[in-house]
Symmetry: C2
């Protein structure tokens, strides 16, 4: 592939990233109560004022990352937006002891515009995005209290995941034993390990090394059936589970796991992990998850070809395509195999510059808003940011 | 409309009801562990063995109702199937004290094939379908212990709904005050009042009269904006709520509320309630919910025309169409207005005898199974059963 072609993609991606940042800077800031609106229509109008904690945290993180690592985004308005979002998050996301039974670190899932808790999930994801946000904000501002806060919440999350989940409020049920193991939790923790250790030296890396190993092992267990399929849920022992839950596939999620593993393989110069990441977590889910008839990645599939029970199984969502872009470009960067770059090059066309979140199987816009309860300032800019950086490196090496 | 036409519809519906009963008798019974499979593919094969308590209860209820009230279903095999399902439900659905904190009456939402609890919802619906099942089974078998059990659980449900929901396990959150009032709970309770009082005389009817009045009033509060729209969620005071939640419409659910209210209006000879039921809860949601382009009722809509955030909002589900059939035929039976019968007559054609559960907006089969976690032996046979009975009456009166 010629440098001219790489250069053209970088230009396109850079432009889309600029447009995306502009959109959220312009429409999502709540200057009255702080924090970010995320339910934003195609016209930029806010159609719901609820504040989703995952998305508050992700937006803080993304602003800080852009501010900290890309010169053209190193602007006061972006840092100020991140700080304002961080202040809202730190003031309101953590719910008091009595309410949740989860101790001082349990976070709400959803808040009113002025910060009152509306819903608490019995999982660790709100807390994880809180950690991502606060740690990245500590890096952008140099505030060590925030770094400490992120560390402390991380310890709580690790305790819930690996020792005792009872503080999350989910009853232990006899039919749920052993509880199933989804791919999301180890992926999330691996992401946090990278967040908390990046550039902080050997001692911090060592502190989290065992956890990182555990996460990698947990993720690898989802390659099932002699490595012919990635399954979203497996037993705690790493065996296939019965029924729909056991047969469920989420190709976009597997691709995201693929580039998480690729990053680890790069840090560790682990060739075997690199090979597994590319073969099993990038190429395999792409082949299985691609809709040959209409194009695009299915949201869910059943490994035995049954119809998934999720009503939205055949829809084409934005984020699996974001993960595919990152995964294929990263796989190419690591291996130099041209067919991986070829796959990458199919996506920007497939998306056609559209960043609606939800298409039907046939590619019609099914939900026409730009932001919603689960679509915020995260997957699109993270993807564009990472692709731009990777193209920078590829072009620099090509020179 | 001629009696010949009514007769032809009755024949078609009778045939479909027979086919539906045959399908579930043939494929859904678990003769090893008891209870019913409901995840059943188009070929009749079970693709998941989990047992959903709502659907267990509904199937018991439906078998008993058919056995008790329709001569051609008054067969030992149907009663035996209902009794076996009831035994499974009574043995396994209620989860022990410590597990849920909901006391001796809290039911699981989902069980393993052999009856171990997998999931508990923090709502009252599992308990409500348990009550429906056990009460109807007591009527089919003459077992007074079961009637008493249904009564006792009903008292618990009423306590959770009207006095103190804390036993359901949902934390009271500051942003949730006042908690929103959905249409489902008063509809469900109204349905149970009819179940528990039918044919049991004035004393029992009197016992539940105040509750029935409360349910009717709660449902009527969902007619908002000067009676121009039915909204799925309102505040406890009956005012419109902000945001997506407040603007949400579920046309099939409103139509179901319509025929619930029509039934009450008939029992009470309440002309005003009848008028409101037909105008506001049958004709209005049909007009607003019908897809002029592709036909069929949308699953969700936003009253201001925003895009709903539910991914499946534009899909065409089987059950809203079942409710529409019942609602229009009942509205015609009550009023004799020919345009209501005209609406009814459009549906069997629109469905074309298909009883898949989930179509895309355009009418393509999106999920090709016959039963799933939320589609069991209930909406289709209830609809056909009720329509057949109403057509019987219309034809008898026409003679």
């Amino acid at each position: 592939m010629s440098a001219v072609k790489l250069e053209a993609w970088r230009e396109q991606i850079r432009k889309e990233l600029d447009d995306t940042v502009d959109f959220w800077l312009k429409y999502s800031h709540d200057t009255t109560h702080g924090g970010f609106f995320t339910c934003i229509g195609r016209d930029g109008k806010v159609y719901d004022e609820l504040k989703y904690v995952w998305l508050q945290g992700r937006q803080v993180w993304m602003y800080c990352r852009l501010y900290r690592t890309m010169e053209r985004f190193h602007k006061p308005e972006i840092l100020e937006a991140a700080k304002a979002g961080g202040a809202f998050l730190r003031k309101f996301a953590r719910v008091s002891d009595g309410v949740s039974g989860g101790g001082p670190w349990k976070c709400a899932f959803c808040l009113t515009r002025d910060g009152k808790a509306v819903k608490i999930q019995r999982s660790v994801f709100s807390e994880c995005f809180y950690i991502m946000a606060v740690d990245e904000l500590s890096r952008a501002t140099g505030d060590e209290d925030m770094q400490l806060e992120a560390e402390q919440m991380m310890q709580q999350v690790i305790f819930w995941v690996r020792e005792d989940p009872s503080g999350l409020g989910r009853p232990a049920l006899p039919g749920d034993a052993p509880p199933p193991s989804g791919m999301a939790v180890p992926m999330m923790l691996l992401c946090l390990v990278q967040q908390l250790t990046e550039g902080r030296g050997q001692e911090v890396a060592q502190k989290y090394r065992e956890l990182a190993d555990w996460c990698v092992q947990q993720i690898l267990r989802h390659a099932q059936r002699d490595g012919t399929a990635i399954l979203e849920n497996v037993s705690l022992e790493g065996a296939e589970l019965p029924g729909c839950q056991g047969r469920l596939q989420n190709p976009g999620h597997a691709l995201e796991a693929g580039w998480f593993l690729l990053q680890v393989s790069g840090e560790r110069q682990d060739e075997e992990l690199r090979r597994v990441a590319v073969d099993k977590f990038v190429e395999l889910p792409f082949r299985g998850g691609w809709d040959e008839e209409h194009g695009g990645l299915f949201y869910f599939l059943d490994v035995d070809g049954h119809c998934p029970t999720q009503l939205e199984w055949s829809m084409k969502l934005w984020w699996p395509h974001c993960e595919a872009l990152v995964a294929f470009l990263m796989a190419y960067s690591h291996t130099g195999r041209p067919e991986l770059l070829q796959r990458f090059s199919q996506f920007p066309d497939a998306e056609g510059g559209e960043w609606f979140g939800y298409l039907t199987q046939e590619g019609k816009v099914a939900l026409d808003f730009k932001g919603g309860p689960f679509k915020g300032f995260f997957h699109v800019p993270r993807c564009l940011y990472m692709c731009e950086r990777m193209l920078d490196d590829l072009l620099a090496n090509a020179d």
